[in-house]
């Protein structure tokens, strides 16, 4: 590790717009002086409000009289360090925001994470997350002129050669300073929170084949515009489920195939929830992403596939 923690600490203290207090860990890091390195030395988060562009599908359309804001959590990481997405991958934990909202304020349609990066981890494992910086967006819907304070806390794990647990909290006054209007696209969010849900594909037809009682081979067949291809897929398995992306294929124009394996750890007889994948496409409109939901295990009459989901999963899941 080349960066000196004292320098980094000063840098991040300058960057943070709001007071943050990352909790120290209790053990020395690998190649740093004993008990010298803290999450706040290599990462920070600051919070801000911004006006939110009125947009949404029939599934996520906000109340017409509601005031829409973003509560934005800007995470910054030192070079080489990363934090994690909703699904951290083979290790780590999801970056988590917890909010205590005043009356008349709700989160709709759900906390939004930008498309993550995929990075290799020791042992040939895969992690999903963010390097350098990322903004996690909380869409707030404010009715009846509600005011007050939002208590927000962030919990994250920042890793490089070692992992450090970070925590920060702040009180955000809804009557305070608010930044200019931002759309979901401005924040590089997946399409679930974007516009009228002009998805880059028309449907996702899952085909499940049992491998054994706990494992299913899943193929997602996507109809995509002719000049659009699926370039990446990020799995978000249901609880007690593990998803492995085996292959992504664009066999011909207008068609994409995602092959994956779903393994359930649930006890016999326990119905698993649907899993999801974040499908990233590249086409004339650039890089886009949308969620696809499908049964985690063998389909049942009550578990129907859907091409989209009404909201992103709760980050605190």
């Amino acid at each position: 590790m080349s960066a000196r923690p004292s320098i980094l600490a000063s840098l991040f203290a300058l960057i943070a717009a709001f007071a943050v207090a990352a909790e120290p860990t209790t053990s020395p890091a690998a190649d740093m002086p004993s008990q010298a390195l803290r999450a706040s030395d290599v990462s920070s988060v600051s919070f801000r409000l911004a006006k939110r562009q009125r947009e949404g599908s029939s599934l996520t359309r906000p109340h017409p009289e509601a005031q829409l804001l973003w509560l934005l959590a800007d995470f910054k990481m030192a070079a080489g360090w990363h934090i994690y997405w909703l699904n951290p991958g083979d290790s780590g934990i999801p970056t988590n925001l917890k909010l205590d909202l005043p009356a008349g304020v709700s989160i709709s349609p759900g906390i939004q994470f930008p498309i993550p990066k995929k990075f290799p981890q020791p042992g040939g494992f895969i992690g999903y997350g963010y390097e350098e910086k990322v903004t996690v967006a909380v869409p707030l819907e404010i009715t009846r002129g509600a005011k007050g304070i939002v208590d927000v806390s962030a919990i994250w794990l920042v890793c490089k050669d070692v992992c450090l647990s970070g925590h920060a909290s702040a009180k955000i006054d809804l009557g305070g300073s608010v930044g200019p209007v931002l759309s979901a696209a401005d924040l590089s969010l997946p399409r679930i929170a974007n516009g009228e849900m002009h998805l880059p594909f028309e449907g996702a037809t899952p085909s499940l084949k049992a491998v054994d009682p706990k494992t299913a081979s899943v193929t997602l067949a996507l109809e995509v515009p002719s000049e659009t291809t699926v370039t990446d897929v990020f799995p978000l398995p249901a609880e007690d489920t593990e998803l492995t992306i085996n292959s992504i294929a664009n066999p011909h124009a207008g068609k994409a195939l995602i092959d994956l394996t779903s393994t359930s750890y649930a006890a016999p007889g326990v119905q698993t929830q649907p899993s999801q994948v974040l499908v990233v496409t590249h086409g004339p409109q650039g890089r886009q992403a949308a969620w696809v939901s499908f049964p985690s295990c063998l389909p049942t009459p009550t578990t129907q596939p859907s091409s989209t989901i009404p909201q992103t999963p709760d980050v605190g899941r």
């Binding site: 860990t25 209790t26 290790s91 494992f125 992690g127 992992c163 647990s165 007690d240 750890y265």
Partner: protein, 205 residues
């Protein structure tokens, strides 16, 4: 019964010297799976003493992937929870080994942390990562329970709350305690596999 019980002394010595574990058929690819024979290994503890899984036949064995620099491991040690758990089951005849697959860790490192954290059990040195890979250990902690016949009966997380917050321990279901109670009572393990959580194991490669 554990496989490959007839490991020769020479082979065991090579295993220790090279840090390469011995598995069924000599295959070093991940083989660990619930319901199947546990991959064998021979590793040094923090005092340099060789510990061979093949010699533990007839005992219930817990393997705990360990890295003292990981906040998720610290969560279970700072309040003494992991030590209490291990001590409680040691009294019931369970063998409990911590395994440190972190690259570049030495027996001296493991000795130091055992003293600092009051760990009275053996911390096995797997700095080559061979045993960790054989068990497919992705995170610290990762927990494995092996029954008296040498088969894996539990693999996964220590408990039900994937966090680094010690306060979460009390409100979590401890999968290891539950599985050990069932094994010791001669019952089938009801939760055989969970997704482990924690830091990635800091393998050498």
């Amino acid at each position: 019964m554990f496989c490959c019980k007839s490991l020769t002394a020479a082979a065991a010595a090579v295993a220790i010297l090279t840090g390469v574990a011995f598995f069924k058929g000599g295959d070093a690819s991940p083989t660990a799976a619930v319901g199947q024979a546990a991959p064998l290994f021979t590793l040094e503890d923090q005092t340099g003493k060789a510990v061979s899984l093949a010699e533990q036949t007839g005992k219930v064995v817990v393997l705990e992937w360990f890295n003292n620099e990981c906040p998720f491991v610290q969560k279970h040690y700072t309040g003494g929870d992991m030590n209490k758990l291990a001590t409680a089951y040691k009294a019931k005849g369970v063998l409990w080994f911590a395994i440190n697959s972190t690259k570049n860790k030495t027996n001296a490192d493991n000795t130091a942390i055992a003293k600092e954290w009051n760990i009275d059990r053996q911390i096995l040195n797997d700095s080559t990562g061979a045993t960790g890979h054989a068990y497919g250990a992705k995170t610290t902690p990762t927990m494995v329970i092996i029954d008296k016949s040498g088969n894996i009966v539990y693999q996964g997380a220590i408990d039900s709350t994937a966090s680094a917050d010690q306060a979460d321990i009390a409100k979590s279901e401890n999968y290891v305690a539950k599985a050990l109670d069932e094994v010791l009572a001669g019952k089938p393990v009801s939760t055989q596999q969970t997704k482990s959580y924690g830091c990635g194991v800091k393998y050498a490669k």
